[in-house]
């Protein structure tokens, strides 16, 4: 049993997980639908968003150098990292040079991708996760299970137990509001006392050199303004040409992620504290991280570089809604994760992910930048087949099917027998146990097939 299969098996057996995922993803799906309905020309807006990102990706080198010049002019220091290790080394070195004991971190998926929490721990630097969900999973010593709601897999009861065990002054009333208040009490002094603030960037503005963060909690500002040093780690694809382009992307991001017109806090930071400023960091460092992105651009995955990390694809994915995010095994779960993880971690280690998809196309329908996720997933499947990564049983099974499918009379005979057999197994429209197909019926019933095969019905119609 592969790692993914084992994790998916465990996830399917976890009834609490299903409840937790359904509560948040279901709410997100409903809110997005309302927001999109209320927005004029959302479909054209998606076309524009995709065109902006394609324009950037096509001219990425130019915009990166423009951003670099603008950011330096604003007083920031710009660093470049080809790999995750290199990016972490740069961040740790900056922290050490600042004699930092603790860092406050505002949620960043890029930080997770490059393994920054681990690198900071290895360097002996204390880390305070300030996003509420990241705080929850830091206390639980777990990984994020969703890119917008990293603690989506936790029920309120589990969060309550965690806070009671770990907070200095935990909540006394069993409500979500009281739990949030407990986290506020716990985190505020830690944010104000941090030596370094670390964030990602939702957008890098090429012509001004500013970096943009968005949050609903305000934790980014509270993590990044008080410390002496602000470090930004950002993927190189986060560039947009100007503020105007960022504004269009922000309209798409908020609606697609949470169904809001805009996040509560949207901040553009350009360089460190200016003369006379009462607050703000004395140093601002921006680490531009490649980590496989130039390779993706060269090897047919340029469309994936459009991704603005809204999470809509996973909120609407029937597979994600069943197994949650941890089963995917990588930093990024759901459909976008199933495309990204093979690029980041290698196809051999993650070939199951592109197969964990029904290709129902829902992810592509809701993607604000029109990433053809099912097509990209099929691309990985084809590559996996070409490179001989599929297991022998799969190759033999497909070979047998191909052999039969090329003999129409035999194919019709076999499928006819299969349909008849399945109908015998069915009871009141459903099959509870399927010989040789236990994996299907272990967690759900299979629909009893129609009375005859498609071809039989088709030919009957043709004879009329």
């Amino acid at each position: 049993m592969s790692g993914f299969t084992a994790r998916a098996d465990a996830a399917l057996a976890d009834r609490l997980l299903k409840v937790a995922v359904e509560r948040t993803a279901g709410t997100a799906e409903a809110k997005r639908a309302v927001a999109v309905h209320a927005f004029p020309d959302f479909e054209q807006a998606r076309d524009r968003a995709a065109a902006i990102k394609d324009h950037v990706v096509a001219n990425l080198g130019h915009y990166l150098t423009q951003f670099e010049s603008s950011a330096i002019a604003a007083g920031a220091k710009v660093h470049w990292a080809q790999t995750a290790d290199e990016a972490c080394r740069i961040v740790v070195d900056i922290c050490k040079a600042a004699n930092a004991k603790t860092v406050a971190r505002s949620k960043s998926m890029l930080g997770e991708e490059i393994g920054l929490p681990h690198a900071l721990a290895e360097a002996g630097i204390g880390r305070v996760e300030t996003d509420l969900a990241e705080h929850i999973i830091q206390l639980a010593d777990e990984r994020p299970s969703h890119i917008i709601w990293p603690a989506m897999h936790k029920t309120r009861e589990q969060v309550s137990a965690l806070f009671h065990a770990k907070h200095r002054q935990p909540h006394s009333e069993e409500s979500i509001a009281a739990m949030a208040e407990s986290a506020r009490r716990e985190l505020r002094s830690q944010m104000l006392g941090a030596d370094v603030g670390i964030s990602g960037a939702n957008f890098l503005i090429a012509d001004t050199g500013a970096i943009c963060t968005v949050t609903n909690e305000g934790n980014a500002e509270l993590s990044l303004v008080p410390p002496r040093v602000h470090i930004v780690t950002a993927g190189i694809e986060k560039i947009v040409p100007s503020m105007g382009h960022a504004i269009h992307m922000l309209r798409m991001l908020a609606r697609s992620a949470t169904g809001a017109a805009l996040t509560q806090y949207t901040t553009f930071y350009a360089g460190p504290k200016r003369p006379g400023d009462r607050d703000g960091p004395e140093e601002m460092h921006i680490v531009l991280v490649d980590n496989g992105r130039t390779k993706m651009r060269e090897e047919g995955l340029a469309e994936m570089l459009r991704c603005i990390r809204c999470g809509a694809c996973m909120n609407h994915c029937v597979v994600f809604r069943q197994i949650g995010g941890h089963a995917y095994g990588g930093t990024y779960p759901g459909p976008m994760g199933a495309v990204l993880t093979p690029a980041l971690d290698g196809l051999r280690a993650s070939r199951d992910l592109p197969n964990a998809c029904t290709l129902n196309g829902k992810c592509q329908e809701v993607c604000p930048v029109r990433i053809p996720l099912p097509t990209l997933l099929r691309g990985w499947r084809e590559k996996s087949w070409r490179e001989g990564l599929e297991p022998v049983t799969m190759r033999q099974g497909v070979g047998l099917w191909a052999w039969v499918a090329q003999r129409p009379r035999l194919y019709r005979l076999v499928t006819g027998m299969a349909v008849a057999g399945l109908r015998i197994l069915g009871n009141r429209g459903w099959i509870a146990r399927l010989p040789l197909g236990g994996g299907w019926t272990r967690y759900r019933d299979m629909p009893r097939p129609a009375g005859s095969t498609f071809m039989t019905q088709y030919r009957k119609e043709q004879r009329k």
Partner: protein
């Protein structure tokens, strides 16, 4: 010049077509965005402030001299003492704040802070701020009650109107409601890390 920089840029190339600027600008022509009635910007703005996602209250004053009384009215209505973190803005320093306990540095658990927004955006109900020596940023995030003065004449229709003329500040930020979170079971809770209450005082003059 770092080797990583060279390696990344050599793969990407840095040459840009002569038409690059035009291509970028074409992408900004007639953007899709919510419709705003330009004749009634104040009403549009106030309607957005009242949305559950923004959850801001508001008041109106005729001139700056009426500001301390409006702030006192709000704080009394909330059952809060007349204590206030006031930014070092000369427009505020000349007002009569008698009856208030004032301080110009925010405490870790600040009760209330006042700030002057540079603009308001009707499309979203956003308040636009920029940092400067007279406009610190931190009090606006530490305070439980964030009280914001906004001139009616500074309400603009769309987010494209948010960037201000002049040199770029260290931080340009938009506040669209109170601090909130949906991180536990997707349930909305206000006052996650920042202000739990946002009160806008519109200045008609």
């Amino acid at each position: 010049m770092s080797s990583a920089r060279d390696a990344i840029l050599s793969r990407l190339g840095t040459a840009a077509p002569a038409t690059l600027r035009d291509e970028a600008e074409v992408l900004l022509i007639t953007p899709e965005r919510p419709v705003v009635d330009n004749r009634h910007l104040k009403a549009e703005f106030l309607a957005r402030l009242a949305l559950p996602s923004v959850s801001a209250s508001h008041d109106a004053i005729a001139d700056m001299d009426a500001l301390p009384a409006a702030v006192a009215r709000y704080l009394a209505g909330q059952g809060e003492p007349p204590a206030l973190c006031l930014p070092p803005d000369p427009r505020l320093a000349t007002l009569d704040w008698s009856g208030f306990t004032l301080h110009d540095r925010a405490a870790p658990n600040e009760g209330a802070a006042l700030a002057i927004a540079r603009r308001g955006i009707a499309e979203t109900g956003s308040l636009i701020f920029e940092t400067s020596p007279t406009a610190p940023m931190l009090p606006n995030f530490l305070a439980l009650h964030h009280i914001v003065l906004l001139r009616v004449a500074d309400i603009f229709p769309h987010l494209e109107d948010a960037p201000l003329p002049g040199p770029q500040p260290r931080a340009h930020y938009w506040i669209t409601g109170v601090s909130g979170t949906t991180d536990i079971e997707g349930t909305y809770v206000r006052g996650a890390h920042g202000p739990r209450f946002l009160h806008v005082i519109l200045l008609r003059a």
